[in-house]
Amino acid sequence: MNIPIDWAVAGPATILAAGAVIALLVDAFFPRRTWLGSGLPATAALVAAGLELFRLHDDVGQGTFALSLIILAGSLFVVVASNVMNFENAMPPGEYHFLLLSSAAGALLMVSARDLVTLIVSLELLSLPSIALVGLRHGDRRAIRSAWTFFFASVVATAVTLMGISLLYGAAGTLDYEGLSVGLQTTEVPHSVVTVAVLLTIIGLLFKLGAVPFHMWIPDAYLGAPILVAGFLSSVSKAASIGALMIVLEAALPSAYGTWSALVAVVAAASMTIGNVGALRQSNAVGLLAWSSVAQAGFLLAPVAVSGSIGSQAALQYLAAYVLANLVAFAALAVVLRLRGSTDYDELRGLARTDPPTGIPLVLAALTLAGFPPAIIGLVTKYVVIQPVIEADKTWLAVVMAVNVMLGLAYCLRLVAVLFDKPQGEAYVSPSPPFSVRIAKAVVILGALGIVALSAWPALLLSNLP
Protein backbone atom coordinates (compact mmCIF):
# COMPACT_ATOMS: atom_id res chain seq x y z
CA MET A 1 0.00 0.00 0.00
CA ASN A 2 1.32 3.34 -0.95
CA ILE A 3 0.12 6.88 -0.62
CA PRO A 4 -0.43 8.06 -4.19
CA ILE A 5 1.44 11.32 -4.36
CA ASP A 6 -0.43 13.52 -6.75
CA TRP A 7 2.41 15.61 -7.98
CA ALA A 8 0.30 16.96 -10.76
CA VAL A 9 -2.02 18.71 -8.42
CA ALA A 10 0.87 20.15 -6.51
CA GLY A 11 2.05 22.00 -9.60
CA PRO A 12 0.20 25.27 -9.13
CA ALA A 13 1.01 25.24 -5.43
CA THR A 14 4.65 24.75 -6.22
CA ILE A 15 4.55 27.69 -8.57
CA LEU A 16 2.98 29.77 -5.88
CA ALA A 17 5.57 28.77 -3.33
CA ALA A 18 8.33 29.61 -5.75
CA GLY A 19 6.58 32.86 -6.58
CA ALA A 20 6.38 33.69 -2.90
CA VAL A 21 10.09 33.31 -2.42
CA ILE A 22 10.83 35.23 -5.60
CA ALA A 23 8.57 38.05 -4.55
CA LEU A 24 10.32 38.23 -1.22
CA LEU A 25 13.73 38.32 -2.88
CA VAL A 26 12.83 40.82 -5.58
CA ASP A 27 11.37 43.11 -2.98
CA ALA A 28 14.50 42.87 -0.93
CA PHE A 29 16.47 44.27 -3.83
CA PHE A 30 13.83 46.66 -5.00
CA PRO A 31 14.69 50.23 -4.14
CA ARG A 32 11.29 51.52 -3.17
CA ARG A 33 8.88 50.16 -0.64
CA THR A 34 5.91 49.94 -2.94
CA TRP A 35 3.58 47.28 -4.15
CA LEU A 36 5.44 47.04 -7.42
CA GLY A 37 8.53 45.14 -6.35
CA SER A 38 6.79 42.13 -4.93
CA GLY A 39 3.30 42.62 -6.30
CA LEU A 40 4.30 42.06 -9.89
CA PRO A 41 6.09 38.75 -9.23
CA ALA A 42 3.19 37.67 -7.08
CA THR A 43 0.74 38.51 -9.81
CA ALA A 44 2.87 36.68 -12.32
CA ALA A 45 3.08 33.66 -10.07
CA LEU A 46 -0.67 33.57 -9.64
CA VAL A 47 -1.25 33.87 -13.36
CA ALA A 48 1.30 31.17 -14.03
CA ALA A 49 -0.31 28.95 -11.45
CA GLY A 50 -3.62 29.54 -13.12
CA LEU A 51 -2.23 28.57 -16.50
CA GLU A 52 -0.69 25.49 -14.98
CA LEU A 53 -4.03 24.66 -13.44
CA PHE A 54 -5.72 24.88 -16.82
CA ARG A 55 -3.03 22.68 -18.28
CA LEU A 56 -3.82 20.11 -15.64
CA HIS A 57 -7.53 20.46 -16.18
CA ASP A 58 -8.03 16.85 -17.08
CA ASP A 59 -5.88 15.45 -14.30
CA VAL A 60 -7.51 17.04 -11.33
CA GLY A 61 -11.06 16.39 -10.31
CA GLN A 62 -13.72 18.82 -11.35
CA GLY A 63 -14.43 19.96 -7.85
CA THR A 64 -10.81 20.50 -7.05
CA PHE A 65 -10.33 22.34 -10.29
CA ALA A 66 -13.16 24.71 -9.58
CA LEU A 67 -12.03 25.30 -6.03
CA SER A 68 -8.46 25.89 -7.13
CA LEU A 69 -9.69 28.31 -9.72
CA ILE A 70 -11.71 30.21 -7.15
CA ILE A 71 -8.72 30.29 -4.82
CA LEU A 72 -6.36 31.51 -7.50
CA ALA A 73 -8.75 34.08 -8.86
CA GLY A 74 -9.52 35.33 -5.37
CA SER A 75 -5.86 35.59 -4.50
CA LEU A 76 -5.14 37.40 -7.74
CA PHE A 77 -7.93 39.83 -7.01
CA VAL A 78 -6.55 40.44 -3.53
CA VAL A 79 -3.00 40.90 -4.76
CA VAL A 80 -3.92 43.36 -7.48
CA ALA A 81 -6.31 45.28 -5.29
CA SER A 82 -3.64 45.41 -2.58
CA ASN A 83 -2.16 48.18 -4.65
CA VAL A 84 -4.35 50.53 -2.78
CA MET A 85 -2.95 49.73 0.62
CA ASN A 86 -0.42 51.90 2.29
CA PHE A 87 2.84 49.97 1.97
CA GLU A 88 5.02 53.04 2.31
CA ASN A 89 4.97 53.31 6.04
CA ALA A 90 2.73 50.61 7.42
CA MET A 91 3.61 47.28 5.87
CA PRO A 92 6.54 45.56 4.23
CA PRO A 93 5.31 44.68 0.73
CA GLY A 94 7.71 41.78 0.15
CA GLU A 95 6.69 39.92 3.26
CA TYR A 96 3.08 40.76 2.64
CA HIS A 97 3.10 39.10 -0.73
CA PHE A 98 5.24 36.24 0.44
CA LEU A 99 2.82 35.44 3.21
CA LEU A 100 -0.17 35.91 0.96
CA LEU A 101 1.18 33.54 -1.66
CA SER A 102 2.22 30.99 0.96
CA SER A 103 -1.25 31.10 2.35
CA ALA A 104 -2.73 30.73 -1.10
CA ALA A 105 -0.46 27.76 -1.72
CA GLY A 106 -1.76 26.25 1.48
CA ALA A 107 -5.28 26.84 0.30
CA LEU A 108 -4.56 25.13 -2.99
CA LEU A 109 -2.99 22.18 -1.24
CA MET A 110 -5.92 21.87 1.12
CA VAL A 111 -8.31 21.25 -1.71
CA SER A 112 -5.96 18.94 -3.54
CA ALA A 113 -4.89 16.95 -0.50
CA ARG A 114 -6.00 13.35 -0.53
CA ASP A 115 -4.94 12.43 2.95
CA LEU A 116 -5.43 13.99 6.32
CA VAL A 117 -1.70 14.42 6.96
CA THR A 118 -1.28 16.65 3.95
CA LEU A 119 -4.52 18.33 4.81
CA ILE A 120 -3.46 19.29 8.30
CA VAL A 121 -0.07 20.50 7.15
CA SER A 122 -1.66 22.52 4.35
CA LEU A 123 -4.14 23.89 6.81
CA GLU A 124 -1.26 25.17 8.86
CA LEU A 125 0.33 26.58 5.74
CA LEU A 126 -2.89 28.48 5.18
CA SER A 127 -3.22 29.54 8.80
CA LEU A 128 0.17 30.60 10.03
CA PRO A 129 0.96 33.07 7.24
CA SER A 130 -2.51 34.53 7.43
CA ILE A 131 -2.09 35.00 11.17
CA ALA A 132 1.11 36.84 10.46
CA LEU A 133 -0.71 38.86 7.81
CA VAL A 134 -3.33 39.92 10.33
CA GLY A 135 -0.68 41.26 12.65
CA LEU A 136 1.36 42.79 9.89
CA ARG A 137 0.53 46.45 10.31
CA HIS A 138 3.25 48.30 12.05
CA GLY A 139 2.69 49.94 15.36
CA ASP A 140 -0.95 49.01 15.44
CA ARG A 141 -2.10 47.58 18.76
CA ARG A 142 -5.35 46.46 17.34
CA ALA A 143 -3.60 44.48 14.62
CA ILE A 144 -1.35 42.62 17.00
CA ARG A 145 -4.18 41.89 19.39
CA SER A 146 -6.25 40.56 16.54
CA ALA A 147 -3.32 38.44 15.46
CA TRP A 148 -3.02 37.05 18.97
CA THR A 149 -6.70 36.20 19.14
CA PHE A 150 -6.64 34.59 15.74
CA PHE A 151 -3.44 32.74 16.47
CA PHE A 152 -4.48 31.33 19.77
CA ALA A 153 -7.94 30.27 18.71
CA SER A 154 -6.38 28.75 15.63
CA VAL A 155 -3.80 26.61 17.44
CA VAL A 156 -6.40 25.34 19.89
CA ALA A 157 -8.62 24.36 16.99
CA THR A 158 -5.69 22.66 15.31
CA ALA A 159 -4.95 20.70 18.46
CA VAL A 160 -8.52 19.52 18.69
CA THR A 161 -8.53 18.55 15.05
CA LEU A 162 -5.30 16.62 15.47
CA MET A 163 -6.87 14.72 18.34
CA GLY A 164 -9.72 13.82 16.03
CA ILE A 165 -7.33 12.75 13.34
CA SER A 166 -5.41 10.59 15.78
CA LEU A 167 -8.61 8.83 16.79
CA LEU A 168 -9.56 8.35 13.15
CA TYR A 169 -6.17 6.84 12.58
CA GLY A 170 -6.74 4.56 15.46
CA ALA A 171 -10.06 3.46 14.11
CA ALA A 172 -9.11 3.02 10.49
CA GLY A 173 -5.38 2.51 10.54
CA THR A 174 -4.78 4.92 7.73
CA LEU A 175 -5.25 8.58 6.95
CA ASP A 176 -5.70 8.74 3.23
CA TYR A 177 -9.24 9.46 2.13
CA GLU A 178 -9.92 6.30 0.23
CA GLY A 179 -8.47 4.18 2.98
CA LEU A 180 -10.55 5.99 5.52
CA SER A 181 -13.77 5.58 3.64
CA VAL A 182 -13.12 1.86 3.41
CA GLY A 183 -11.59 1.53 6.83
CA LEU A 184 -14.39 3.23 8.65
CA GLN A 185 -16.89 0.90 7.10
CA THR A 186 -15.02 -2.23 8.06
CA THR A 187 -13.64 -1.15 11.40
CA GLU A 188 -14.52 -3.04 14.53
CA VAL A 189 -14.33 0.08 16.61
CA PRO A 190 -17.72 1.10 17.96
CA HIS A 191 -19.73 3.70 16.17
CA SER A 192 -19.60 6.23 18.97
CA VAL A 193 -15.81 6.35 18.80
CA VAL A 194 -15.93 7.02 15.09
CA THR A 195 -18.47 9.72 15.76
CA VAL A 196 -16.19 11.46 18.24
CA ALA A 197 -13.27 11.15 15.87
CA VAL A 198 -15.16 12.49 12.88
CA LEU A 199 -16.61 15.44 14.70
CA LEU A 200 -13.32 16.43 16.28
CA THR A 201 -11.67 16.19 12.90
CA ILE A 202 -13.98 18.56 11.09
CA ILE A 203 -13.76 21.16 13.84
CA GLY A 204 -10.55 22.62 12.47
CA LEU A 205 -12.19 23.20 9.13
CA LEU A 206 -15.31 24.65 10.70
CA PHE A 207 -13.05 26.95 12.65
CA LYS A 208 -11.34 28.24 9.54
CA LEU A 209 -14.70 28.62 7.94
CA GLY A 210 -15.86 30.72 10.86
CA ALA A 211 -18.91 28.65 11.65
CA VAL A 212 -20.66 29.04 14.96
CA PRO A 213 -19.48 28.38 17.68
CA PHE A 214 -16.01 28.84 16.25
CA HIS A 215 -16.75 32.25 14.81
CA MET A 216 -15.65 34.55 17.57
CA TRP A 217 -12.24 35.30 16.17
CA ILE A 218 -13.75 36.53 12.92
CA PRO A 219 -14.94 40.03 13.84
CA ASP A 220 -11.76 40.71 15.80
CA ALA A 221 -9.48 39.45 13.09
CA TYR A 222 -11.28 41.20 10.23
CA LEU A 223 -11.37 44.50 12.02
CA GLY A 224 -7.72 44.31 13.04
CA ALA A 225 -6.28 42.97 9.82
CA PRO A 226 -5.18 45.04 6.86
CA ILE A 227 -8.41 45.36 4.95
CA LEU A 228 -7.53 43.18 2.00
CA VAL A 229 -6.20 40.51 4.31
CA ALA A 230 -9.66 40.45 5.78
CA GLY A 231 -10.88 40.08 2.24
CA PHE A 232 -8.47 37.21 1.75
CA LEU A 233 -9.62 35.50 4.92
CA SER A 234 -13.23 35.85 4.00
CA SER A 235 -12.82 34.57 0.49
CA VAL A 236 -9.78 32.41 -0.22
CA SER A 237 -9.48 31.00 3.25
CA LYS A 238 -13.16 30.20 3.39
CA ALA A 239 -13.10 28.70 -0.07
CA ALA A 240 -10.27 26.39 0.94
CA SER A 241 -11.98 25.39 4.16
CA ILE A 242 -15.37 24.67 2.67
CA GLY A 243 -13.73 22.92 -0.24
CA ALA A 244 -11.58 20.76 2.00
CA LEU A 245 -14.57 20.07 4.21
CA MET A 246 -16.64 18.93 1.25
CA ILE A 247 -13.86 16.71 -0.01
CA VAL A 248 -13.12 15.20 3.38
CA LEU A 249 -16.75 14.56 4.14
CA GLU A 250 -17.48 13.03 0.80
CA ALA A 251 -14.26 11.23 0.03
CA ALA A 252 -13.16 10.15 3.47
CA LEU A 253 -16.17 10.08 5.70
CA PRO A 254 -19.18 9.11 3.61
CA SER A 255 -19.82 6.19 5.88
CA ALA A 256 -20.35 8.55 8.78
CA TYR A 257 -22.91 10.61 6.86
CA GLY A 258 -25.50 10.04 9.53
CA THR A 259 -23.15 11.47 12.11
CA TRP A 260 -22.09 14.68 10.52
CA SER A 261 -25.10 15.51 8.39
CA ALA A 262 -27.39 16.56 11.20
CA LEU A 263 -24.64 18.36 13.06
CA VAL A 264 -23.41 20.29 10.06
CA ALA A 265 -27.00 21.28 9.44
CA VAL A 266 -27.36 22.56 12.98
CA VAL A 267 -24.07 24.39 12.75
CA ALA A 268 -25.18 25.89 9.44
CA ALA A 269 -28.45 27.11 10.88
CA ALA A 270 -26.73 28.55 13.95
CA SER A 271 -24.06 30.21 11.86
CA MET A 272 -26.39 31.99 9.53
CA THR A 273 -28.64 33.11 12.33
CA ILE A 274 -25.95 34.30 14.70
CA GLY A 275 -23.93 35.86 11.92
CA ASN A 276 -26.88 37.83 10.65
CA VAL A 277 -28.01 38.88 14.09
CA GLY A 278 -24.51 39.95 14.92
CA ALA A 279 -24.34 42.05 11.79
CA LEU A 280 -27.53 43.92 12.57
CA ARG A 281 -26.00 46.52 14.82
CA GLN A 282 -22.72 47.06 13.04
CA SER A 283 -21.97 50.56 11.98
CA ASN A 284 -18.67 49.75 10.35
CA ALA A 285 -18.71 48.20 6.93
CA VAL A 286 -15.88 45.79 7.71
CA GLY A 287 -17.57 44.68 10.90
CA LEU A 288 -20.68 44.14 8.87
CA LEU A 289 -18.85 42.03 6.33
CA ALA A 290 -17.20 40.08 9.14
CA TRP A 291 -20.46 39.04 10.72
CA SER A 292 -22.02 38.56 7.35
CA SER A 293 -19.22 36.18 6.45
CA VAL A 294 -20.22 34.08 9.48
CA ALA A 295 -23.72 33.99 8.11
CA GLN A 296 -22.48 33.14 4.64
CA ALA A 297 -20.53 30.26 6.14
CA GLY A 298 -23.89 28.96 7.28
CA PHE A 299 -25.30 29.23 3.78
CA LEU A 300 -22.24 27.43 2.44
CA LEU A 301 -22.58 24.65 4.98
CA ALA A 302 -26.26 24.06 4.40
CA PRO A 303 -25.91 22.20 1.11
CA VAL A 304 -22.81 20.43 2.39
CA ALA A 305 -24.91 19.13 5.26
CA VAL A 306 -27.09 17.26 2.81
CA SER A 307 -24.10 16.33 0.68
CA GLY A 308 -24.52 14.31 -2.43
CA SER A 309 -23.02 15.65 -5.61
CA ILE A 310 -25.80 18.21 -5.99
CA GLY A 311 -25.09 19.57 -2.56
CA SER A 312 -21.44 20.20 -3.15
CA GLN A 313 -22.13 21.58 -6.58
CA ALA A 314 -24.54 24.02 -5.04
CA ALA A 315 -22.04 24.99 -2.39
CA LEU A 316 -19.42 25.59 -5.07
CA GLN A 317 -21.69 27.80 -7.09
CA TYR A 318 -22.71 29.73 -4.04
CA LEU A 319 -19.09 30.02 -3.05
CA ALA A 320 -18.11 31.50 -6.38
CA ALA A 321 -20.73 34.21 -6.24
CA TYR A 322 -19.99 34.89 -2.60
CA VAL A 323 -16.26 35.18 -3.12
CA LEU A 324 -16.72 37.56 -6.01
CA ALA A 325 -19.15 39.80 -4.16
CA ASN A 326 -17.17 39.76 -0.98
CA LEU A 327 -13.93 40.67 -2.71
CA VAL A 328 -15.58 43.48 -4.59
CA ALA A 329 -16.90 44.80 -1.32
CA PHE A 330 -13.56 44.56 0.43
CA ALA A 331 -11.68 46.12 -2.43
CA ALA A 332 -14.12 48.99 -2.62
CA LEU A 333 -13.81 49.47 1.11
CA ALA A 334 -10.06 49.41 0.77
CA VAL A 335 -10.32 52.32 -1.63
CA VAL A 336 -12.55 54.14 0.83
CA LEU A 337 -10.18 53.40 3.65
CA ARG A 338 -7.27 54.74 1.68
CA LEU A 339 -9.07 57.92 0.69
CA ARG A 340 -10.95 58.64 3.87
CA GLY A 341 -9.21 56.73 6.59
CA SER A 342 -12.20 54.82 7.90
CA THR A 343 -14.94 52.46 6.80
CA ASP A 344 -17.49 53.68 9.33
CA TYR A 345 -20.91 54.40 7.98
CA ASP A 346 -20.37 58.08 8.50
CA GLU A 347 -17.58 57.99 5.97
CA LEU A 348 -19.58 55.90 3.55
CA ARG A 349 -22.58 58.17 3.57
CA GLY A 350 -23.51 59.10 0.04
CA LEU A 351 -20.63 57.23 -1.50
CA ALA A 352 -22.75 55.92 -4.35
CA ARG A 353 -23.48 59.50 -5.31
CA THR A 354 -20.16 61.15 -4.76
CA ASP A 355 -18.01 58.32 -6.01
CA PRO A 356 -20.08 55.97 -8.14
CA PRO A 357 -17.15 53.83 -9.34
CA THR A 358 -16.62 52.72 -5.75
CA GLY A 359 -20.10 53.10 -4.35
CA ILE A 360 -22.17 51.33 -6.96
CA PRO A 361 -20.02 48.15 -6.93
CA LEU A 362 -20.31 48.17 -3.16
CA VAL A 363 -24.09 48.34 -3.50
CA LEU A 364 -24.05 45.51 -6.01
CA ALA A 365 -21.86 43.44 -3.74
CA ALA A 366 -24.08 44.03 -0.74
CA LEU A 367 -27.14 43.05 -2.73
CA THR A 368 -25.42 39.95 -4.02
CA LEU A 369 -24.58 38.95 -0.48
CA ALA A 370 -28.16 39.53 0.51
CA GLY A 371 -29.41 37.66 -2.53
CA PHE A 372 -31.59 40.40 -3.81
CA PRO A 373 -32.34 41.67 -7.29
CA PRO A 374 -31.00 43.44 -9.25
CA ALA A 375 -28.05 41.30 -8.19
CA ILE A 376 -29.77 38.26 -9.60
CA ILE A 377 -26.75 36.05 -9.21
CA GLY A 378 -27.05 36.37 -5.45
CA LEU A 379 -30.67 35.34 -5.63
CA VAL A 380 -30.00 32.49 -8.00
CA THR A 381 -27.23 31.09 -5.85
CA LYS A 382 -29.48 31.33 -2.81
CA TYR A 383 -31.97 29.33 -4.79
CA VAL A 384 -29.26 26.90 -5.68
CA VAL A 385 -28.29 26.24 -2.08
CA ILE A 386 -31.85 25.92 -0.88
CA GLN A 387 -32.64 23.38 -3.57
CA PRO A 388 -30.59 20.43 -2.27
CA VAL A 389 -31.73 21.17 1.24
CA ILE A 390 -35.32 20.86 0.13
CA GLU A 391 -34.58 17.79 -1.91
CA ALA A 392 -33.04 16.17 1.14
CA ASP A 393 -36.22 16.92 3.08
CA LYS A 394 -34.56 19.20 5.56
CA THR A 395 -37.41 21.65 5.41
CA TRP A 396 -36.66 23.21 8.74
CA LEU A 397 -33.24 24.20 7.53
CA ALA A 398 -34.76 25.71 4.40
CA VAL A 399 -37.11 27.79 6.49
CA VAL A 400 -34.27 28.96 8.69
CA MET A 401 -32.47 29.93 5.51
CA ALA A 402 -35.49 31.86 4.35
CA VAL A 403 -35.71 33.79 7.59
CA ASN A 404 -32.03 34.52 7.32
CA VAL A 405 -32.43 35.85 3.83
CA MET A 406 -34.68 38.43 5.43
CA LEU A 407 -32.25 39.17 8.24
CA GLY A 408 -29.42 39.45 5.77
CA LEU A 409 -31.34 41.93 3.74
CA ALA A 410 -32.05 44.00 6.82
CA TYR A 411 -28.48 45.05 7.35
CA CYS A 412 -27.43 45.03 3.73
CA LEU A 413 -30.26 47.40 3.11
CA ARG A 414 -28.98 49.65 5.85
CA LEU A 415 -25.62 49.75 4.13
CA VAL A 416 -27.22 50.43 0.77
CA ALA A 417 -29.30 53.19 2.28
CA VAL A 418 -26.20 54.76 3.77
CA LEU A 419 -24.43 54.55 0.45
CA PHE A 420 -27.25 56.31 -1.33
CA ASP A 421 -27.88 58.80 1.42
CA LYS A 422 -27.27 62.46 0.99
CA PRO A 423 -23.60 63.09 1.77
CA GLN A 424 -23.08 64.88 5.02
CA GLY A 425 -20.97 67.94 5.08
CA GLU A 426 -18.85 68.67 2.07
CA ALA A 427 -17.95 65.74 -0.09
CA TYR A 428 -14.38 64.68 0.28
CA VAL A 429 -12.57 64.98 -2.98
CA SER A 430 -9.34 63.13 -3.11
CA PRO A 431 -6.55 65.37 -4.39
CA SER A 432 -5.75 63.54 -7.59
CA PRO A 433 -5.81 59.97 -6.36
CA PRO A 434 -2.56 58.10 -6.80
CA PHE A 435 -2.19 55.62 -9.57
CA SER A 436 -2.59 52.72 -7.20
CA VAL A 437 -6.06 53.90 -6.23
CA ARG A 438 -7.03 53.96 -9.86
CA ILE A 439 -5.86 50.42 -10.32
CA ALA A 440 -7.83 49.31 -7.30
CA LYS A 441 -10.88 51.10 -8.59
CA ALA A 442 -10.46 49.44 -11.92
CA VAL A 443 -10.34 46.09 -10.18
CA VAL A 444 -13.48 46.96 -8.24
CA ILE A 445 -15.29 47.93 -11.39
CA LEU A 446 -14.11 44.81 -13.11
CA GLY A 447 -15.51 42.76 -10.28
CA ALA A 448 -18.75 44.67 -10.38
CA LEU A 449 -18.99 44.03 -14.10
CA GLY A 450 -18.52 40.38 -13.27
CA ILE A 451 -21.49 40.56 -10.93
CA VAL A 452 -23.54 42.30 -13.58
CA ALA A 453 -22.58 39.77 -16.20
CA LEU A 454 -23.40 36.87 -13.95
CA SER A 455 -26.68 38.51 -13.04
CA ALA A 456 -27.57 38.83 -16.66
CA TRP A 457 -26.51 35.28 -17.51
CA PRO A 458 -26.53 33.22 -14.35
CA ALA A 459 -26.08 30.17 -16.55
CA LEU A 460 -22.54 31.37 -17.13
CA LEU A 461 -21.73 30.41 -13.59
CA LEU A 462 -24.16 27.57 -13.12
CA SER A 463 -23.27 25.67 -16.24
CA ASN A 464 -19.55 26.03 -15.95
CA LEU A 465 -19.00 25.09 -12.38
CA PRO A 466 -19.21 21.33 -11.98
Binding site: L99, L125, A171
Partner: protein, 166 residues
Protein backbone atom coordinates in the same frame (compact mmCIF):
# COMPACT_ATOMS: atom_id res chain seq x y z
CA UNK B 1 2.62 -7.40 33.80
CA UNK B 2 5.85 -6.95 32.00
CA UNK B 3 8.63 -4.59 32.88
CA UNK B 4 7.76 -2.41 29.90
CA UNK B 5 4.32 -1.94 31.24
CA UNK B 6 5.54 -1.08 34.71
CA UNK B 7 8.00 1.36 33.27
CA UNK B 8 5.31 2.88 31.10
CA UNK B 9 3.06 3.34 34.08
CA UNK B 10 5.84 5.05 35.97
CA UNK B 11 6.45 7.41 33.06
CA UNK B 12 2.74 8.01 32.82
CA UNK B 13 2.46 8.94 36.45
CA UNK B 14 5.42 11.26 36.13
CA UNK B 15 3.97 12.83 32.99
CA UNK B 16 0.56 13.44 34.49
CA UNK B 17 1.89 14.67 37.77
CA UNK B 18 4.34 17.10 36.27
CA UNK B 19 1.76 18.24 33.75
CA UNK B 20 -0.62 19.09 36.55
CA UNK B 21 2.12 20.97 38.30
CA UNK B 22 3.10 22.74 35.10
CA UNK B 23 -0.44 23.92 34.58
CA UNK B 24 -1.01 25.02 38.15
CA UNK B 25 2.31 26.26 39.44
CA UNK B 26 2.38 29.84 40.59
CA UNK B 27 5.95 30.29 39.48
CA UNK B 28 6.06 30.80 35.75
CA UNK B 29 9.52 29.38 35.23
CA UNK B 30 8.67 26.39 37.38
CA UNK B 31 5.77 25.71 35.10
CA UNK B 32 8.09 25.63 32.13
CA UNK B 33 10.44 23.32 33.92
CA UNK B 34 7.70 20.96 35.00
CA UNK B 35 6.66 20.87 31.39
CA UNK B 36 10.14 19.74 30.50
CA UNK B 37 9.68 16.85 32.86
CA UNK B 38 6.37 15.98 31.26
CA UNK B 39 7.80 16.09 27.79
CA UNK B 40 10.70 13.96 28.86
CA UNK B 41 8.39 11.39 30.38
CA UNK B 42 6.40 11.32 27.18
CA UNK B 43 9.60 10.79 25.24
CA UNK B 44 10.19 7.80 27.47
CA UNK B 45 6.76 6.50 26.64
CA UNK B 46 7.58 6.86 22.95
CA UNK B 47 10.62 4.70 23.40
CA UNK B 48 8.56 2.08 25.15
CA UNK B 49 6.19 2.12 22.20
CA UNK B 50 9.01 1.37 19.76
CA UNK B 51 9.15 4.89 18.40
CA UNK B 52 12.78 5.61 19.05
CA UNK B 53 13.28 8.23 16.44
CA UNK B 54 10.25 10.17 17.50
CA UNK B 55 11.45 10.07 21.05
CA UNK B 56 14.77 11.57 20.03
CA UNK B 57 13.09 14.29 18.08
CA UNK B 58 10.83 14.97 21.01
CA UNK B 59 13.77 15.45 23.32
CA UNK B 60 15.75 17.50 20.85
CA UNK B 61 13.07 19.72 19.48
CA UNK B 62 10.85 20.14 22.47
CA UNK B 63 13.10 19.94 25.41
CA UNK B 64 16.06 21.32 23.59
CA UNK B 65 14.60 24.25 21.78
CA UNK B 66 10.95 24.93 22.37
CA UNK B 67 11.16 25.03 26.11
CA UNK B 68 14.23 27.17 25.98
CA UNK B 69 12.37 29.59 23.76
CA UNK B 70 9.50 29.58 26.17
CA UNK B 71 11.68 30.32 29.12
CA UNK B 72 13.26 33.19 27.27
CA UNK B 73 9.83 34.50 26.43
CA UNK B 74 8.75 34.24 30.00
CA UNK B 75 11.78 36.16 31.11
CA UNK B 76 11.27 38.83 28.52
CA UNK B 77 7.66 39.39 29.34
CA UNK B 78 8.07 39.45 33.08
CA UNK B 79 6.14 42.39 34.33
CA UNK B 80 8.01 44.69 36.67
CA UNK B 81 4.98 45.30 38.83
CA UNK B 82 3.88 41.68 38.84
CA UNK B 83 2.40 41.32 42.25
CA UNK B 84 1.15 38.17 43.90
CA UNK B 85 -1.73 38.05 41.48
CA UNK B 86 -2.90 34.53 40.95
CA UNK B 87 -1.55 32.96 37.83
CA UNK B 88 -4.93 31.58 36.96
CA UNK B 89 -7.90 33.60 35.78
CA UNK B 90 -11.44 33.71 37.00
CA UNK B 91 -12.19 31.24 34.31
CA UNK B 92 -10.53 28.41 36.21
CA UNK B 93 -13.60 26.60 37.50
CA UNK B 94 -15.11 26.49 34.10
CA UNK B 95 -11.72 25.42 32.81
CA UNK B 96 -11.49 22.66 35.38
CA UNK B 97 -14.90 21.32 34.51
CA UNK B 98 -14.23 21.47 30.80
CA UNK B 99 -10.83 19.88 31.24
CA UNK B 100 -12.33 17.06 33.28
CA UNK B 101 -15.10 16.53 30.80
CA UNK B 102 -12.62 16.53 27.95
CA UNK B 103 -10.34 14.05 29.66
CA UNK B 104 -13.23 11.92 30.80
CA UNK B 105 -14.89 12.00 27.43
CA UNK B 106 -11.76 11.10 25.57
CA UNK B 107 -10.94 8.43 28.13
CA UNK B 108 -14.39 6.93 27.81
CA UNK B 109 -14.08 7.01 24.06
CA UNK B 110 -10.79 5.20 23.94
CA UNK B 111 -11.93 2.71 26.54
CA UNK B 112 -15.01 2.03 24.51
CA UNK B 113 -13.03 1.74 21.33
CA UNK B 114 -9.84 0.01 22.18
CA UNK B 115 -10.28 -1.94 25.36
CA UNK B 116 -8.41 -5.21 25.40
CA UNK B 117 -6.17 -4.39 22.49
CA UNK B 118 -2.48 -4.81 22.96
CA UNK B 119 0.52 -3.30 21.29
CA UNK B 120 2.76 -6.05 19.99
CA UNK B 121 5.45 -3.75 18.66
CA UNK B 122 7.07 -5.59 15.76
CA UNK B 123 7.86 -2.60 13.61
CA UNK B 124 10.32 -0.39 15.38
CA UNK B 125 10.29 3.22 14.35
CA UNK B 126 13.97 3.69 13.71
CA UNK B 127 15.43 6.68 11.99
CA UNK B 128 15.90 4.58 8.89
CA UNK B 129 12.44 3.24 8.57
CA UNK B 130 10.92 6.61 9.32
CA UNK B 131 13.20 8.25 6.83
CA UNK B 132 12.02 5.79 4.22
CA UNK B 133 8.44 6.57 4.97
CA UNK B 134 9.05 10.30 5.03
CA UNK B 135 10.87 10.54 1.76
CA UNK B 136 8.92 7.96 -0.14
CA UNK B 137 5.39 8.21 1.01
CA UNK B 138 5.06 11.53 2.78
CA UNK B 139 7.41 13.65 0.81
CA UNK B 140 4.70 16.05 -0.40
CA UNK B 141 3.54 16.75 3.11
CA UNK B 142 7.15 17.03 4.17
CA UNK B 143 7.84 19.63 1.53
CA UNK B 144 4.77 21.52 2.52
CA UNK B 145 5.89 21.39 6.09
CA UNK B 146 9.16 22.98 5.14
CA UNK B 147 7.23 25.79 3.55
CA UNK B 148 5.18 26.11 6.73
CA UNK B 149 8.32 26.46 8.77
CA UNK B 150 9.69 29.06 6.38
CA UNK B 151 6.50 31.00 6.39
CA UNK B 152 6.24 30.83 10.16
CA UNK B 153 9.79 32.03 10.43
CA UNK B 154 9.26 34.96 8.15
CA UNK B 155 5.96 35.65 9.80
CA UNK B 156 7.59 35.70 13.19
CA UNK B 157 10.26 38.04 11.92
CA UNK B 158 7.89 40.39 10.27
CA UNK B 159 5.60 40.44 13.28
CA UNK B 160 8.46 41.20 15.59
CA UNK B 161 9.49 44.01 13.33
CA UNK B 162 5.92 45.23 13.19
CA UNK B 163 6.01 45.88 16.90
CA UNK B 164 9.11 47.96 16.76
CA UNK B 165 8.40 51.58 16.16
CA UNK B 166 10.29 52.86 13.21
Amino acid sequence: MSATEILFLVFAVIAVGSAVLAMTSKQLVHSALWLVVTLGAIAGCFVLMTAEFVAWVQVLVYVGSIVVLVIFALMMTRQPAAGPSAEVTGNRWAAAVIGLVAAGGLGATVVAGFEGERIEGQRIGTAGSLGDALFNDWVLAFEVLSLVLLAALIGAIVISRAGSDR
